[in-house]
């Protein structure tokens, strides 16, 4: 026998019908996806509707609210974005993207019909089914409304499964408000929409102040029955969710029923590059959605 090693081809050796999480060939595989429409929401943010090109892949692509995906433009870059659309639509997602740098600036120049690559979905999501039969507080600061739009869509589609639903949404100014065109429908679906801006302009007739003021009004004077049967989803800058969660905690809403979404640098989304670690926890695997108890136990989280 010739003492020669045989080359092991790892892809042909792996069993068929793998799950994406243990399929070697899916690691770097990107779905080709088309930007079917784009809609400018503010100066900085644009909503992109993106559809996977291959019908078979489209059928298989499903996600849960709170998960994110990696969007790639060849040669330009790849970055994580929260999926901001209804989980009941397969193979098509909406992403609301703020111009922040390299990739996102380039993205603002591409047109309808452009082909991008997407990988995912990745990470944990909000446990929507666990929330059935409960009150829900959806609390967003600024761009934090983007990841909340997916659970909101879920609530709308399953409205009968939830009790009282409140959205508390704060931004710097009225020009920063996202998804204004949807507010009427949310209200018609019996979702209480509480919007507050830090600085009004002459046309603004709503509340002015801090998000926590509005939240206080909703929470005050409720009974324990309400507090104990309420879930909260909080998205926004770290300082904001710290204040909000502390307030919720004072009203005895259990920490395991508050969910936040963390943002860190991410280069892989699959627990390999280590860039997303908080303390020593992978945000891309164990998060981005964490319950507040877990966040309290993470070093470096806030």
């Amino acid at each position: 026998m010739k003492p020669e090693l045989k080359f092991v081809d790892i892809i042909s050796q792996q069993p068929k019908m793998q799950k994406r999480k243990n399929d070697l060939s899916s690691f770097e595989y990107t779905y080709r996806a088309e930007i079917t429409s784009m809609y400018q929401l503010t100066d900085m943010e644009t909503l992109y509707r993106i559809q996977i090109v291959n019908p078979e892949e489209r059928r298989r692509f499903a996600f849960i609210p709170g998960q994110f995906l990696m969007l790639e433009i060849p040669g330009i870059g790849e970055a994580p974005f929260s999926i901001s659309s209804s989980p009941s639509i397969h193979g098509e997602v909406e992403l609301c993207i703020r111009k922040a740098g390299n990739l996102t600036n380039f993205l603002s120049k591409v047109g309808r019909g452009a082909i991008v690559g997407i990988r995912g979905p990745f990470g944990t999501g909000f446990p929507m089914e666990e929330m059935h039969g409960q009150n829900i507080l959806l609390i967003a600061g600024g761009l934090g409304l983007v990841p909340l739009r997916s659970p909101i869509a879920y609530v709308q589609e399953n409205r009968s499964h939830f009790r009282e639903v409140n959205i508390v949404y704060g931004t710097k100014s009225p020009q920063h408000l996202l998804f204004t065109y949807q507010y009427d429908v949310w209200i018609k679906d019996d979702i209480n929409l509480n919007i507050i801006v830090e600085k009004a302009d002459p046309s603004w007739i709503g509340s002015v102040g801090m998000l926590t003021d509005t939240l206080m009004k909703i929470l005050e004077g409720r009974d324990n029955e309400f507090y104990h049967n309420t879930y909260a989803i909080v998205c926004g800058p770290p300082v904001m969710f710290k204040f909000v969660c502390n307030m919720l905690n004072k009203f005895n809403i259990p920490m395991q029923k508050m969910f936040v979404s963390l943002e860190r640098r991410m280069h892989c989304g699959m627990g390999k590059c280590c860039r997303c670690n908080v303390g020593s926890t992978y945000t891309c695997l164990k998060g981005p959605v964490f319950d507040y108890w877990t966040v309290m136990n993470l070093k470096e989280a806030i």
Partner: protein, 267 residues
């Protein structure tokens, strides 16, 4: 030297901006400009991305109509400062090309001599000219982009120009040369008993000097968060004299803002 007049290029369907660029030099060796035209393999591709309207090294016709000005060299005379201000006015983007332009480069060494008259005599001999202390470009005008190195690395210039044209952000490494040196699997100069500024110098040269068995002289200036103070201490503990250390740190002027250098000894 003119690239063929191609219709405007695109990348993934996005039309690219083809800027008019001009190259200028002040007090320097013009080595940086040479680097750019030295690159036969990619020169044509490079020239098709931009429209060169002014290039001292390689053309006779010149124009003042440009968007990006690459400026090499440091400012040593007042008339140079005036010329630079004019360039600044014409250019949308002013790029400091090379260590001289970024920090004063080797030229700034003469600032260490207090007696400027003496320097004038030494350097310019019998033809005294108007010479003020050496200044980096940004001491005279606003600089939009810096391309570090002495000389610059042509690949880096190409990459930066390509990124401007594509509208990509320009990312120059923030970490130090050691990162590249280790990836190149060099023997560390300190193991050989030689000094090296790799741990505090901005990477991007692909550890040019250590690859050639020479310690880094810091031509690309400090890395972000460079721990100059402790590096000095380490070099001292390794037996290098204050003079050796300061000579290195001083050489290209990139470390001038560090307090460790301001307290420097007399020369």
């Amino acid at each position: 030297m003119k690239a063929k007049e191609s219709e405007s290029k695109t990348y993934l369907g996005i039309p690219l901006y083809r800027p008019k660029v001009a190259f200028f030099e002040f007090s320097s060796c013009e080595g940086c400009q040479l680097q750019i035209i030295n690159n036969e393999n990619t020169l044509l591709d490079f020239l098709s991305l931009v429209e060169v309207v002014n290039f001292r090294e390689a053309m006779t016709e010149k124009s003042d109509d440009y968007e990006i000005a690459f400026v090499e060299g440091s400012i040593t005379r007042n008339d140079e400062a005036e010329r630079l201000k004019k360039i600044r006015k014409n250019a949308k983007i002013l790029v400091a090309l090379g260590s001289c332009a970024c920090f004063g480069g080797v030229n700034q060494l003469k600032n260490r001599f207090n007696n400027i008259e003496w320097v004038k005599k030494q350097v310019y001999g019998k033809h005294p000219i108007d010479t003020a202390p050496v200044r980096a470009l940004e001491e005279v005008v606003n600089v939009d982009l810096r391309i570090y190195g002495c000389p610059i690395k042509k690949e880096e210039v190409e990459k930066i120009v390509l990124h401007v044209v594509l509208g990509k952000s320009i990312d120059i490494p923030k970490y130090p040369v050691c990162m590249e040196c280790k990836a190149n699997e060099n023997i560390c100069l300190f193991d050989l008993g030689e000094p090296c500024l790799g741990p505090i110098t901005r990477a991007g040269c692909d550890s040019w000097c250590p690859n050639n068995n020479a310690g880094c002289w810091g031509c690309r200036g400090p890395a972000e968060d460079a721990n100059v103070g402790y590096m000095k201490k380490i070099m001292k503990e390794k037996g290098f004299s204050e003079k050796t250390i300061l000579e290195r740190l001083d050489c290209f002027g990139g470390f001038a803002q560090f307090p460790e250098l301001k307290k420097k000894g007399k020369h």
